[in-house]
Structure formats: C-alpha cells, structure tokens
C-alpha cells in the first residue's frame, strides 16, 4: 500500500486566465477539465511530475456562498494564501524565460546560502518561490 498527494488546489480569480498562465507560461499541461453546471473541476500537471495535479478553482457557488467567495477572492488578491514552491534546475534561466513571457516577478534571482531563488505571482496573486534544486 502506498499513499501520496494526488491533487492540491489553488484559488484563482479566473480559471481561463489561470489555465493560460500555468500552461503557456509555466509549462504545465491540462490534466482534467470537467464542467458541471457552473462548477468546473480544472487541474493541471507538470510533465516532470505527473503524479501531482494542481487544481485551479474559482471560489463561488455551488461550493461557496457569496460572502465566503468574496472573502476568498480578497485573501488571494492580497497575497495572503500560503506560499508555493516551484523547484527548477536553473533558476536564472527559468527567470529569463518566464520574465520574457510576462510573468510578474516579485523577486529577481538571488543567491543566498549557496542556493538561487526568485519569487513570482500568478495573475490571481498566489505567491510562488522558485528554488534551484540542489544537484
């Protein structure tokens, strides 16, 4: 028997916008995109890590009432969601590539404690740290 994390969800302000960002700018691909009424189960996965799906969910009905959805949208937009970490082989190269396609960086690549890291946000406000994996 084995256990692993199959899917982790993010709240996004617009699923089409998020899909375009994660697929076109970060190199993810669509895993599942299923609609049921106004509910849309949308997950992406990274080609190098097919076992994990990243869910891109929009707060709102039928899962959330109006007030809750508004609160969640506000929390995401002011960057208060927990940090996300993307491991890359070469942080500076990834920065150049992503910066060129318009990813909003909050921190340029910086070397500290012998490791290079950078910071960026998705269009909704979710904050990512991009860390060079130790080889």
């Amino acid at each position: 028997m084995s256990q692993y994390v199959q899917e982790v969800g993010l709240y996004v302000r617009d699923q089409d916008e998020a899909l375009a960002f994660y697929v076109e700018k970060l190199g993810f691909s669509v895993h599942t995109d299923v609609r049921n009424g106004n509910y849309r189960w949308l997950t992406v996965q990274h080609p190098d890590q097919p076992s994990l799906q990243l869910g891109l969910f929009k707060p709102g009905p039928p899962v959330h009432d109006e007030a809750t959805a508004q609160t969640l949208h506000a929390i995401v937009a002011k960057g208060a969601m927990p940090p996300l970490v993307l491991a890359v082989n070469d942080c500076r190269a990834a920065y150049e590539r992503m910066h060129a396609v318009g990813v909003e960086f909050t921190q340029e690549p910086m070397s500290r404690y012998g490791n290079v890291d950078a910071g960026f946000r998705d269009p909704s406000g979710n904050g990512w740290k991009m860390v060079e994996a130790r080889r």
Binding site: T71, A74, A77, K78, G79, T106, Q107, R112, R121
Partner: protein, 181 residues
C-alpha cells in the same frame, strides 16, 4: 535560515481586527493592485517609497491608495515599509560584522539618528543592544556541531518533567501520610 527575531508590537498589531472585516469587502481587483505596491516595497525596502510612487504602481490616486492600503493590510504604507527595513537591519546586525552606520544607510535611512530612534521605537532596544543580544549566541553556537546546537536549544523538558513528577509524588505521599495519620 532563521527568521529575524523581532518584536513589532507598536506597528503590526494595530487595528487588525477592525480591518479584517473591512478588507474582505474590498474589490479583489483593487487588492491585487495594492499587493503589487506591497511586493515592490518588499523587493526594495531600502529605496524611497513616497506615496505617489506607490500609487503609480497600483494605478490609483494617492489618497485612494493610502486609504485602501491601510484597509487591506492593516498598516499605512510608510509604516509597513519601516517594519521591513527594521526587519532587514536586525538580520544584518545579527548576521554580519558591518558597522551600524553602514547598515542604517543600506536599509534606507538618511540619518543614523532617525534609524536609531525608529529602531528603538519598534524593537524596544537600540541597534547596538540588539546586536549584543543576538550575536554572541549565533557566534558561539557556530563552533558547536549542529546536533549539539539543536540539543542546546531544546526546551529543558527532562528537568521540568522530573521535577514536576517529584513534586507530585511528594504531594501524594504527603496526603497519604496525612490520611494514614
């Protein structure tokens, strides 16, 4: 990587309870733009961030920016900037050998006097005191193998627990003796 040990009671706590209710009602699109200004301060807290510069980042009028920022993040923008500068200065005091004057200028202050005064207001101690408090510890511990450092920093539970047990035992024995008597 350890977070700087810093107390910022006078700055970060203010009116957070009232604000949390209000900020949930702010337009997410506005909050996203305010976040951009906050990110810019985080990325370069040593730079000057007058309200007009921040307002431009968020594409808002100055008055609207200042009001909305405080509503969203609980503190006015300039005060948020001060906390970031103090946080950075504290880390530099602890982790480097640099002169306090250099640290003051590098973290964005124009005068050593202002730096010292605000530093004391925020942390409750002078930069020199903070350096003295935090540095001998890291300095000395740097020479100790890591496993012993963690052991040294571990809460002193063994003593406390055994002490507690002994006290409880004495108390129980005491009461039993009383009952017997």
């Amino acid at each position: 990587m350890s977070a700087p040990l810093i107390r910022i009671p006078s700055i970060s706590v203010e009116s957070s309870s009232a604000m949390s209710v209000d900020s949930a009602s702010q337009d997410p699109e506005l909050l996203r733009r305010l976040l951009r200004a906050k990110d810019r301060m985080d990325a370069a807290s040593h730079e000057d961030w007058p309200v007009q510069r921040l307002a431009r980042v968020s594409r808002l009028s100055e008055a609207h920016f200042a009001r909305s920022f405080k509503q969203a993040f609980g503190v006015p923008p300039h005060r948020y900037l001060l906390t970031r500068r103090i946080e950075r200065a504290t880390a530099l005091l602890r982790d480097t050998e640099r002169l306090i004057t250099e640290i003051a200028f590098d973290t964005g202050w124009k005068s050593l006097g202002t730096f010292g005064r605000i530093f004391r207001d925020v942390t409750g101690a002078s930069p020199g005191e903070i350096r003295a408090q935090t540095r001998p510890e890291t300095h000395e511990l740097g020479r100790v193998p890591a496993c012993f450092v963690s052991a040294a920093r571990r809460p002193d539970l063994t003593t406390a627990v055994s002490e507690k047990r002994r006290r409880q035992a004495t108390a129980i024995n005491g009461s039993e003796q009383k009952e017997v008597a």
